[in-house]
Symmetry: C2
Subunit: 235 residues, 2 copies
């Protein structure tokens, strides 16, 4: 799978791309990540990518021209233009279902804003899918792009050591609820013992305990997920 990240700060990605799981996926040719500096497409006499907003107000707006031209050039680099995603707090909220959908693509272009965002005509001309990683405001789309890459690559076959280990994750296809509590050695740590059932060797009992813990935890913390699951099952 190929990711192209269009940004004003490509250097932010360098140590992220060198990290364990992603570095291994890149090394194993399962994933490619190409950061592109949109500043290279700023062709006005001052090489400016941003300018003051029409109508006034604080901050700067990213000009349409360098962004539109950068996207068009990058789309032509591969065999296919890819699915264009703009990271913006105004977009559709990312969830695990969208992550699963994105992991089926061959190529994603991730368009990262900064400052007061893009000139509206970027969206009007390119019709990107606008995606938000949550209801908060970041300094730019770069960390949001990392979140998408992080979430998507773990669903690409071969990237995780053990392919079953993403199925039981919170919100995931094998389990739309929160994950159950996990324990490992030692059995007792600072007076707290791991639950006996996990050491019983009785797989049916362990599975039942985990399912019950998962439901209880979800009920306590995120009852909205149970409602949503009930709706899906009704369909």
């Amino acid at each position: 799978m190929r990711f192209d990240v269009l940004t004003l700060f490509p250097e932010i990605f360098s140590s992220y791309l060198g990290q364990s799981l992603l570095a291994k996926a890149i090394e194993g040719n399962l994933v490619e990540v190409h950061p592109h500096d949109m500043r290279k497409w700023a062709n006005d006499k001052h090489n400016r990518v941003d300018d003051r907003p029409f109508g006034g107000g604080a901050g700067m707006v990213i000009r349409a021209e360098p962004v539109v031209e950068c996207v068009e050039a990058v789309q032509q680099e591969g065999n296919q233009p890819g699915r264009l995603i703009m990271l913006t707090p105004q977009g559709r909220r990312l969830d695990q279902r969208l992550v699963e959908e994105l992991s089926q693509e061959k190529r994603l272009l991730l368009l990262c804003g900064r400052y007061e965002g893009f000139d509206q005509r970027v969206s009007d001309l390119l019709h990107p899918e606008e995606v938000s990683i949550g209801d908060y405001v970041l300094n730019g789309g770069e960390v949001a792009a990392m979140a998408i890459i992080d979430a998507v690559i773990r669903l690409i076959p071969g990237v995780l050591g053990d392919e079953t280990s993403s199925v039981d994750d919170s919100f995931s296809s094998g389990n739309r609820l929160l994950e159950f509590p996990q324990y490992t050695r030692p059995r007792v740590y600072r007076g707290l013992a791991a639950p006996d059932v996990l050491l019983s060797g009785d797989h049916a009992q362990i599975a039942a305990w985990r399912k019950q813990q998962s439901i209880e935890r979800t009920k306590r913390r995120r009852a909205d997920l149970l409602d949503r699951q009930a709706e899906t099952e009704d369909e």
Copy 2:
């Protein structure tokens, strides 16, 4: 404000910390970010931070001991222990209100999981606030910690060039809705003109147009935010 990031992959943060706005905030002594490698607290004979889950299942669980000891040691480094946040998909979902609350703190400790997460006794012993950046699963808490740092620092006075520019952001204190569309030069780009009202110089009309656009966009894309705002106004 001081951030301590407790992670198994401290090197992921290096180029993120060198980026424009954050680098300037660090340089200006407005923000400190200290990554800590939890592996240094793995004192068993094999220096292992993870082990297989009790009860079986895919993946590895992070052992309680190195995490608890790392947190305790890092808490003692500063003048105050700080507010301890564990990044986990099972946590309270981050939103701009929580970001605003966190920006009032003097110190945040961000605890980043990996693999199948932490041994449950980390939470039982340390009682961290569990926070999730969204309903999807990342490879670890590192990108989530960056999202928190990114969102929080822009609310620290002096970090943004113009302090008013965070108030009108989507979800923010001056505007709990989605932000209005922005335009900048040129007035016409590829046949698309910026709205005349923005060039009118009539500030009252511009403000009214922006408010209306903000409401319409929110209604179209995120009607749930309007419901929530109505509830808040009723209180």
